[in-house]
Homo-oligomer: 565 residues x 2
Amino acid sequence: MAFRLALAQINATVGDLPGNRDKILEFVSSARAAGASLVAFPELALTGYPPEDLLLKTHFVAENLRLLRELASSVQGITAVIGFVDRSRTGELYNAAALVAGGRICGVYHKCALPNYSVFDEKRYFVPGDSPQVFRQADTVAAVNICEDLWVDDGIYVRQARQGARLIVNISSSPYEEGKRAQRIALLRRRALATGAAWAYVNLVGGQDELVFDGASLVVSREGRLLAWGRQFEEDLVCCDVELSSGTKKRVVLTLPASVSAQSARLLLARPVVLKAEAEIYQALVTGTRDYVRKNGFQKVLIGLSGGIDSALVAAIATDAVGKENVVAVSMPTRFNAGATKGDARRLARALGIEFKEISIEPLFKAFLAVLAPHFKGHSFGLAEENLQSRIRGNLLMAFSNKFGWLLLTTGNKSEMATGYCTLYGDMSGGYAVIKDILKTRVYALCEFFNTKEGREVIPRSVFTRPPSAELRPGQTDQDSLPPYPVLDALLQDYVEAHRSADEMARRKPGGEWTARVVSLVDRSEYKRRQSPPGIKISKCAFGKDWRLPLTNHYRPRIASASGK
Amino acid sequence: MAFRLALAQINATVGDLPGNRDKILEFVSSARAAGASLVAFPELALTGYPPEDLLLKTHFVAENLRLLRELASSVQGITAVIGFVDRSRTGELYNAAALVAGGRICGVYHKCALPNYSVFDEKRYFVPGDSPQVFRQADTVAAVNICEDLWVDDGIYVRQARQGARLIVNISSSPYEEGKRAQRIALLRRRALATGAAWAYVNLVGGQDELVFDGASLVVSREGRLLAWGRQFEEDLVCCDVELSSGTKKRVVLTLPASVSAQSARLLLARPVVLKAEAEIYQALVTGTRDYVRKNGFQKVLIGLSGGIDSALVAAIATDAVGKENVVAVSMPTRFNAGATKGDARRLARALGIEFKEISIEPLFKAFLAVLAPHFKGHSFGLAEENLQSRIRGNLLMAFSNKFGWLLLTTGNKSEMATGYCTLYGDMSGGYAVIKDILKTRVYALCEFFNTKEGREVIPRSVFTRPPSAELRPGQTDQDSLPPYPVLDALLQDYVEAHRSADEMARRKPGGEWTARVVSLVDRSEYKRRQSPPGIKISKCAFGKDWRLPLTNHYRPRIASASGK
């Protein structure tokens, strides 16, 4: 028999219990109208994900339970699977899925595998469930599990399949990472073949602080065939008819009321296009930025536009995220800025169609130098004076932000954040660090992608070809103090994302000879990262919740050999 | 028979494997010289605590294992209990204690209860042990467990006692919190009576980022009598003779080689004085500051001295932490600073004997206003201009910090951090936030304590009596926009430290009527706290690792009633 299911990949907002309830009800109606027997929502759809320490507030959990019951009373003619926070009588919390049908909560599943690595802290809040909770719906036996339950080998799904589940619905809030969609497809196929069940995977959409959820829900047949998929980075209701063998005779925990007939016309699915590598990352950055801006109540964003490649990319992303009419760029040259750079900033703003201001900071820089002169006597121009320029710019941008309520976006990339090639309270000032997890070499690739997407040279060619420089002293370039970016980025991937040893890194060709310098730069910059604004994670290990290094840290990795011995 | 044990409460440094090894060996020698049969070191003494994501580096764990083996070969004539990271053949990590004697590792205990709440993330790294591992030493059966193992009711200690342990040694790295020593004594007494065993508790000493470990090791007889205690906030070797009934006949896992005779002369213990409330907190702040400064390689610290109570306290603490010759204070008045405030800053610096600079920021403030004037036309003086003054000060202080390598200490208190009554990149600039977890009302109490301790009016009386003000506009006082501090602080304790609901807070008398305002201020300031420097935790819930609220957060607690209904 064919079973019609719907996957509601919604953009929930953390803490917005009434708003999330309303959105869930809206998608329940759409799914019912589409003739689905069952509609599934993402993990913790009611609270938003991750709710973090809101879970320590008993009133927050109580309110989520109250709204779930209220919501359930409106669900008729369809079964809904809704992620929420359950609480035992003794106060333990569960990451849970409610089976809602016939106007009531018919069953509850508790997540068994609680992730507590990378950005996840679920053992801080939840205790694990251990019951497979299969249920009968129409002629089928189905089961629900939650996110990590899918990823852990020999997990709860084994028991669910043994109890006869022909359809396994996994509700997830799985943050985007480069290449994760392909991983999910491969895993779901493996699980389908192992269990002999069809799998439906519904994932959250939207940005939440440093995380971006990419949706991209999936349905896989018990033979491992990909039957349907949802849009990436957008809300979607994925409907799909799944052929299921009839249910087992085994005892099941729960029999749900019959839903609407599954006989209605076969859906025409407009299958969304799957994004290619750079496009996918670019869209993640746009989504993260848009949701941070909008969910935090900002209308406009502000960017310090230097004429360099990093701020060019951030301006491009911002324009796609909130609209060119909501982006203000400020260029703040000093004596050290080449005319070409200033010109590029202006040209780029014009090409993007965003508001542009130019303010020379030369008089402010001079005023600071004058005030400091008696105290700095006998010391030559150095880091303090370089940082001063960056901090004057930060001050001006924050003054605009405070005066007009614009959100300041920072423009530092991951290579800079890693090596500390950035100024605390200077260019690091701002509410959101759009490209914090993008290595410099990829910044170029994303800018190329942007120009290609636009079909014209929005970001001027000279921005790509000029040697990168902070322009804080005469003739400065990044490569005065850093290895060439391709070498640097490869070493950073080793050290930051793979936690490789300095010894292994030293054997890398070319570039291994830079190991000691790079390791030392990364280790010594921890204090800067600790005070940096949040930014969008797209890699296996970003400088955010998944990077918890001590500030006070005397560990100095040994490099036994830089010669490959 | 009497058993002489030694508790080595050392100040380990995170990541400093060779340094910690050397320190352990030094204390092993002292304990042996004192005639002890057994010497115990704190939890993870070899790596320092908490090592956080250093544990994700396989080379770090390997190095800790290598050094443990090396260290063991030097331990003769005594049994040492040493905290380290153990690794299984399949790569799982354990928070472990090695029993070292006769030049080798004789046994290993794995921590069973892994804390994953508050500031603790141990389930991120470790898997739990589940073996009691009692061992025979001389005529006694003893057991070791680790930190949280003591705190969990019906924990592993029950099985250790059932297997005949007459002495239970708990090695801890337990961060200081107000009143925690008394809690530990009460708990140890309860455990001693329940198990019929004597308990020895050894705790780490020193500061590590936001945590301060207070030492204060304890020995309790099986009748629950407090036999010995270690100094607070200082390294110490606590030696104590414990009467133990002879060991059980039950099978034990391990028999350790005989140590030196326990017949040597009874030790004369100079029992350290126990600190009173304010003194204890003050000492925690001094210890945290000193260790952050020293372990991060700084010689001098820098403070923006306003003439107000907060910076007065920080200057006092800094002077005790690193010595008056290493503290530089800078006063940076504008047109809005009263002459009295400026005078107090100068007077305080003189009384403390610290270097003092005064720099008027008026010309810089004017220069900024002039540059911004064309852009701010038609807007009146407001928050942007107030913050600007604070940020100019931040810039100047950071210029000094960059030029001379001095660590900038911030002076904001917890009431300000909670309500956002502070300027990002302004007065929040700095590497370490000394009084970040101290509510304003307690700032006054600690200043009183300081003057009393010094026996003279170091902090001028007028600093206590002047109404608190940021002096960023004419006639401003804190109470223009905040409730009176005693009311504010009581509400903050409810909301921040106890996660109470707004409803409960609204019933508080007096002050409940401020609930909505305070809750909203706290919720809206999350973005500032996220970028604030680390500071010393002394409360149940500080704004650090134990405060993980989402930035994007639409939860608005309902206030059903402000009238107590």
